[in-house]
Structure formats: structure tokens, C-alpha cells
Amino acid sequence: MEKMDIIKFIKRTLLFFLAVFLLDFTAGHAMRYFYFKQNSGSLYRTTFALDSTKAEVLVIGSSRASRHYNPEVMQEKMGMSVYNAGQKGNHIFYHYGILKAVLTRYKPKVVVLDLLYDEFKPEQDSYDRISTLLPYYDSHPELMELIQLRGPYETIKLRSRLYPYNSLILPVINGNLGLDKKREPEIKGFLPLDAVMADSVKKNSARVEYPLDSMKLKTYEKIISTCKEAGISLFIVFSPAYLDDIISNYSVTIGREMAVKNNVPFFDFAESAPFMNDYKLYSDNVHLNSKGAAIFSRQVADSILNHLKNPR
């Protein structure tokens, strides 16, 4: 009786796993098809940055990058094509991934890395967010090194065709229907914010030291060395934030020191005029609005140009 049960169990389990495999294969391929068919939205911007842009100036960073750097303003000032590859909610690992993938296709003349405050703080979320790169694991093998930082079982998980598209069904639908385009206009990767901050209250930014995430520091160093080896002019920028005492943010301080040590220009806009005291240039405490972004883009383009003309 028990033997019969075991045989029945094995048969049913095998059948079930076969069905799971077929479901995963079919649904995974459907998701992949629609993922790469998108023509707008945040996921599409990652695909464009990885596979299509050939801009001479490439901006990489988090949402602060995507909201702060207006490529049209910068292009006009610099006379070079600019693409903003900033992606909300992402961290140094994603930025390095974009750089690595881009370098397999072409070499930008200038890379601007927008450094996030508290970038080097150890936070699990930074590793979880590498999931943004999962859909590209097979088309961009150079990203696997970063994808594996998510955990020791990532290679096993990627046996599933659906896994890379986990939680993406709604953004993929939007990206195919172009709904984001209507809601959030995009200019070469730049996502302007129209709102103006409601009041002039500066939030506290805690002036604390914390244990640094060695993997993030290593990745930051890799961005610097990769650009050096490729002969790309790298500029690291800390863009404006309406926060108290942001200039002494521990990660920004460390980032600045490492940049100086490696002879990489570091532009710190933490306390620069007019951003320090004009809350009307912000949409919220950490994001400039379109007016602020236009002023900032001109300033950062000037700084880069000056440096390119007169390298120190």
C-alpha cells in the first residue's frame, strides 16, 4: 500500500512540476516579450540606457539624478549629447551596472555620477533593488556579478523564467500602453517635477557616522577605476538638497575624500547658491523641481566644461 502511495506521489509530483515548468516557461516568455516591447516608463528607460543610448555625456544616479539633470539644458551649454540614466530607488550597484553595460557598446566622453546622501550606509534595500537589472541577466552577462550580490541563490532563482519579472506586471502593462508617458513626461531620461515645496522648513539630516558598507565602497571605487581605464572623464556630483547640515553627511564626506584621492573632480552643491535657501526651487526636501533643475543643470554643465577646459 505504502509502495503504491510512493509511486503515486512521485507520478503526481513529476506531473505537477512539469506543469509548473510549462507555466513558468510560457508566462516568463510572455513577460519577457512585453517587457522589451515597452516604449515608455521607468523600465523602458533602463532598457534604453543599457541598449540604445549613445550620448556623449551619460548621467547615472538615483531619482535625484533623474529629477535634477536636464539633458537639453546641459546639451545647449556643453555642445555634447546628454542622456539621463538616473533611476528612482536605485543605488550604486545599479549605477555601476549601467556603466558596465554601456561600455560593452560604446564609450561616453563624460560620465556624471550623482552621489546619494547616505549612499554607503549598509541597507538591505540597496541590494534588493538590484532586481531592476534582473530582466537583463541573459542579454547582459556582465551584470551577473552585480545580480549575484542579491544573495547566494540568485543563479538558482534565475532558472525560473518568471522570476526576473516578479512584481513587474503592472509597470509592464503601463509601459506598453504608454500610460506613464502621459502622466510623467520625459526628456532624454530627465523626469521634471512641477510641484513647489509647500514650506521653507528644512528637515534635519542626521549628522551621524555609521559603519560603511564595504561592498558599496568597492563598487564606488570600481566606477572610478572603470572610467579611468576607459579614458572617460568622470565627474562625481552631490546635487542640492534642502536639508540641514547636509554638507557633513557621512557618505558624502567619504565619497568626496575617495574622489579627491583618485583625482576625480567632485562638485558639491550642498551649500551652493541659490539652492541653499530657496525652497521654491524644490519639489520636496531632496528633489529639485523643474525650475531648480534648469538652474542646477546650467551650473553643473558650466562646472564640467570649466574642468574639461582647465583640468586641475
Partner: protein
């Protein structure tokens, strides 16, 4: 080792396969070794704490059984002291010291007692309570002392329920380790189905809702009252699915190997009174407190005011059981107050032979369910808030109801969709249990399609970076 990890899937398959391959007499040893490995995957050295209480309780059980008079009681006290002592040191020491520091600072003095820099052993409150239930039951004469040390250790450490329950009683679990469990295909599939539903609840509902709840509760100053109300309702479902999901996986994993663990949840949000809620929520803990604390305090055999005080004490202790923070004490106290108020109301109605108009109608019952849910949600604010000040800040904001609702569209969409799927299943189970069943349908096509649908939902919508179960920290 988390249930929602690849490690656990591999561990479960290996242990279960070996379990059925081994001869019955060696199975307990395999389970004990597997349970040790499971526990040591968190902080290995903490197994020594577990070992310490296991040794004490094992010998205490035997001595209690063999002794009479004062000696019995003394050994019960030794056992309880060891278990509560471990809890006191690892869970409550720094909390008590914090409060002492606060009181001394009021008097302008410094607290000379140092803080302990220790991590709370995972699931400590669960296994100490399970261990205590053993010695109490031996003392009461309801359970024979276990002579096989390994089997007793397994009773405390049985991996499916080691770190977050259900908190078992010796009468229900110990004898099962001696029973030969055959390879029963129906029981195995039953267990696997329960595990699948548990994973769905944890990965698709709880962890998805957590993304919204954490955004609101971690930075309440940045969010409107409306957002905080929505986050609190979401939290009610998050904690339910997180904890009942864990229980389902635990019960399912045990069932696959032939063990029956006690039911821990029974669709609590369909309760029409707070008293009913506590009969449906975390049943293994509620009954533990009833059996070992409430009855020890006199149960229902004391005066009415004393019953109220006892109930209140039980809920305060239950709050403290959940965590060393005043937020949990207030949460417990609030639930105690709800319960006392409900009993007082019922007594008054009975005394004057009154009835609440429409209470038995469909609308009346729905109102009672909604009202109970809102009362419970209000208490969850204290459970989830970082501290008491934050909880009151949240309540003040909720009262004002100003500002926009925080929505990030994929999060909101997934949150609502997952809640709807859960509610459809729970409404069906609560009110139409005999009706059409998907998971237990006679047609294999319907049954297997349902399993595949749940798996598809987990793969498409599950949060794979969600991390720990909330109740692990207790």
C-alpha cells in the same frame, strides 16, 4: 533559516525525504538533528540557551513526577524560574534598565547598572512557553514525565514550530513522536496545500502590504492622517497574513511528516466581538494564557471585579510577551479593556433583560464585525508604532484626516488585489464552507489549476525580498 527562503525549501525536501527513508526508531533523531540545524542557522551559539532550559525542564519533569508535597512545587518553581529567568535576561533586562534609567534621571541621578549588548534569541518566547507548559502539565498530573531526553528535546525544538509556534501542549505533541507515520499521500498533499496557501499569504499579501505599511509607519511625520489610516488597515491584514501564513507553513510541514499541530488562526477578522477575536487569533497563545495564567489567578471562580482584574492582568502580560516595549503593554491593556467593557455591557444587558436592537440581523452582525475590526485596528497602532510617542502622533494625525493619500500605483494595486484574493477565500471559508471548493475540488483539473494559479501569483506578485516574519522577534 526563514521559511520563505531557498535554504528552507532544500532543507524541507531533504529532511522529509530522509524522514520517510529512515526506519521509525531513528526518525526522532533525524528530526532532532534537523531542528538543531534549523535553529543554529540563526545564531548558532544560542542553542546553548535552549539546551540549558531543556536540561532543567527534563529533570524537573521527572523529579516532579517522582516527588510529593513541597518538593514537587519546588521543582516546578525551579523550572519556571529557569525559563522566565532566560526570558528576563534576554528579553526584558534592557527594557527594565531603560525604565530604571528614566526614573533615576527624573531624580537627577545616573543609572549605574550597565546594559547588555545581546541579541534576542529567535523565537525565545515561543519555545520557553512550550517548555513551561510541559512542566506545568506534569505538575498537574495531566502528562507523564518524558524519560527519553532526545524526545523531550524534540518536543521543545521540533523545527516547524520552534521559532513562531503554534505553542504546543505536551499532551498533543509528545506522543506523536512515538507514533509511526506512514507515507500517506492524502495527508502529504494536504500538508503541501496548506504550505502553499501559507506561502501565498506571506509572500503575496503580507510582504506586499508591508511595503506600504513600512513607508507610512517608519516616517509618520511625512504622511497624512488618511495614509496612516490606510496603513493601519493594511497592517491588520499584513500581521494576520504574516503570522497565520507562518502557522500554515509550520502546520503543513509537520502534517507532511504525519504530525498534527494545533490550529492557530480561525479567520479572526470575522469576529463580532473582541472576545471572539481572541478565540480566533493566535489560539495557541490565548489558550496558553487561559490555561496557565487566567485559571491560576482564579479563573471564573472569583468575584466579578476580580475577574475583570485578572483579565486585564492576562492581557497586560500578553502584551509584554510580545515585546519589551510600552507599546506592546498598551496594546495588551487596550485589548484587556475592550474585553472587560464587553463583559460589563453583556452583564448589564442580561441584568435588565435588554437586547441591542437589530443585533441578530445581517446588518447588525456586519456592524459588529466592522466595529470589532476597527477596535482591533486601533490597538494595532500601538503594536506597530516604534514607540508610544509615535503612536500618539499617528493617532493625532489620523484624527485630523488632513493631506493627500500616499499612493504609488503598483504598490497600491498589488496591495488591494492581494487583499481581495485573500478576502474572497476567507469569506468563502467562513460563510460558504460547503460550497464549491477550488483546492479540494473533486476534479483534478480544477484542483491543479488552483495550485498553479497560486504558484503563478507567488512568482508574479510575491515579494521575494520581504525578509523575516514579524513574530520571529517575539
Amino acid at each position: 533559516m526563514l521559511f520563505n527562503s531557498i535554504e528552507f525549501v532544500i532543507f524541507f525536501i531533504v529532511v522529509t525525504t530522509l524522514y520517510f527513508l529512515l526506519e521509525h526508531k531513528y526518525r526522532w533523531f533525524l528530526l532532532l538533528a534537523a531542528s538543531c540545524y534549523f535553529y543554529m542557522a540563526f545564531v548558532p551559539v544560542y542553542i546553548l540557551i535552549l539546551g540549558f532550559t531543556i536540561v532543567i525542564d527534563y529533570y524537573a519533569g521527572i523529579i516532579i513526577e517522582q516527588s510529593t508535597g513541597k518538593k514537587r512545587k519546588s521543582w516546578l518553581i525551579v523550572s519556571l524560574f529557569a525559563n522566565i529567568g532566560v526570558l528576563a535576561v534576554f528579553k526584558y533586562y534592557n527594557f527594565l534598565n531603560d525604565n530604571l534609567s528614566f526614573l533615576l534621571s527624573r531624580a537627577g541621578r545616573e543609572n549605574p547598572i550597565p546594559y547588555l549588548k545581546i541579541l534576542l534569541p529567535i523565537g525565545l518566547s515561543f519555545h520557553t512557553f512550550q517548555a513551561m507548559s510541559y512542566t506545568i502539565e506534569v505538575y498537574r498530573g495531566n502528562q507523564k514525565a518524558e524519560r527519553n531526553f532526545g524526545i523531550y528535546a524534540l518536543y521543545v525544538m521540533f523545527y516547524p514550530q520552534l521559532v513562531a509556534g503554534p505553542i504546543e501542549r505536551p499532551q498533543n505533541l509528545l506522543f506523536q513522536f512515538y507514533k509511526k507515520h506512514s507515507f500517506d499521500i492524502d495527508r502529504i498533499f494536504n500538508g503541501l496545500k496548506l504550505m502553499l496557501w501559507g506561502f501565498f499569504k506571506k509572500l503575496v499579501v503580507a510582504d506586499r502590504l508591508a511595503t506600504y505599511v513600512n513607508a507610512a509607519y517608519n516616517y509618520p511625520e511625512n504622511h497624512s492622517g488618511l495614509t496612516l489610516i490606510v496603513a493601519t488597515i493594511f497592517f491588520a491584514f499584513q500581521i494576520y497574513c504574516d503570522f497565520s501564513g507562518y502557522s500554515d507553513i509550520a502546520i503543513g510541514a509537520a502534517r507532511v511528516m504525519g504530525f498534527d499541530l494545533m490550529k492557530n488562526f480561525n479567520r479572526p477578522y470575522f469576529s463580532s466581538t473582541v472576545s471572539e477575536f481572541w478565540k480566533r487569533w493566535h489560539i495557541s497563545l490565548s489558550t496558553w494564557f487561559k490555561d496557565y495564567l487566567y485559571i491560576s489567578l482564579g479563573g471564573n471562580r472569583v468575584s466579578v471585579p476580580r475577574i475583570y482584574i485578572n483579565l486585564f492582568i492576562v492581557f497586560l502580560v500578553s502584551g509584554l510577551w510580545h515585546g519589551a516595549n510600552w507599546t506592546y503593554v498598551i496594546w495588551g491593556g487596550l485589548n484587556g479593556l475592550y474585553l472587560v467593557a464587553a463583559i460589563m455591557r453583556d452583564k448589564l444587558l442580561a441584568k435588565y433583560k435588554l437586547e441591542i436592537p437589530g443585533a441578530q440581523t445581517w446588518a447588525g452582525k456586519s456592524f459588529s464585525i466592522l466595529f470589532t475590526f476597527l477596535l482591533i485596528c486601533f490597538s494595532w497602532i500601538f503594536f506597530r508604532a516604534a514607540n508610544v510617542d509615535v503612536a500618539f502622533q499617528i493617532i493625532r494625525k489620523m484624527a485630523k484626516l488632513e493631506g493627500p493619500l500616499y499612493t504609488t500605483y503598483p504598490t497600491m494595486f498589488f496591495c488591494l488585489l492581494s487583499m481581495v484574493m485573500l478576502l474572497v477565500v476567507e469569506v468563502k471559508q467562513e460563510y460558504f464552507n460547503g460550497a464549491f471548493s477550488f483546492m479540494n475540488n473533486r476534479s483534478p483539473v480544477v484542483r491543479y489549476s488552483t495550485y498553479l494559479f497560486l504558484l503563478l501569483m507567488i512568482l508574479l506578485m510575491g515579494v521575494f525580498d520581504g525578509g523575516q516574519f514579524i513574530y520571529f522577534q517575539f
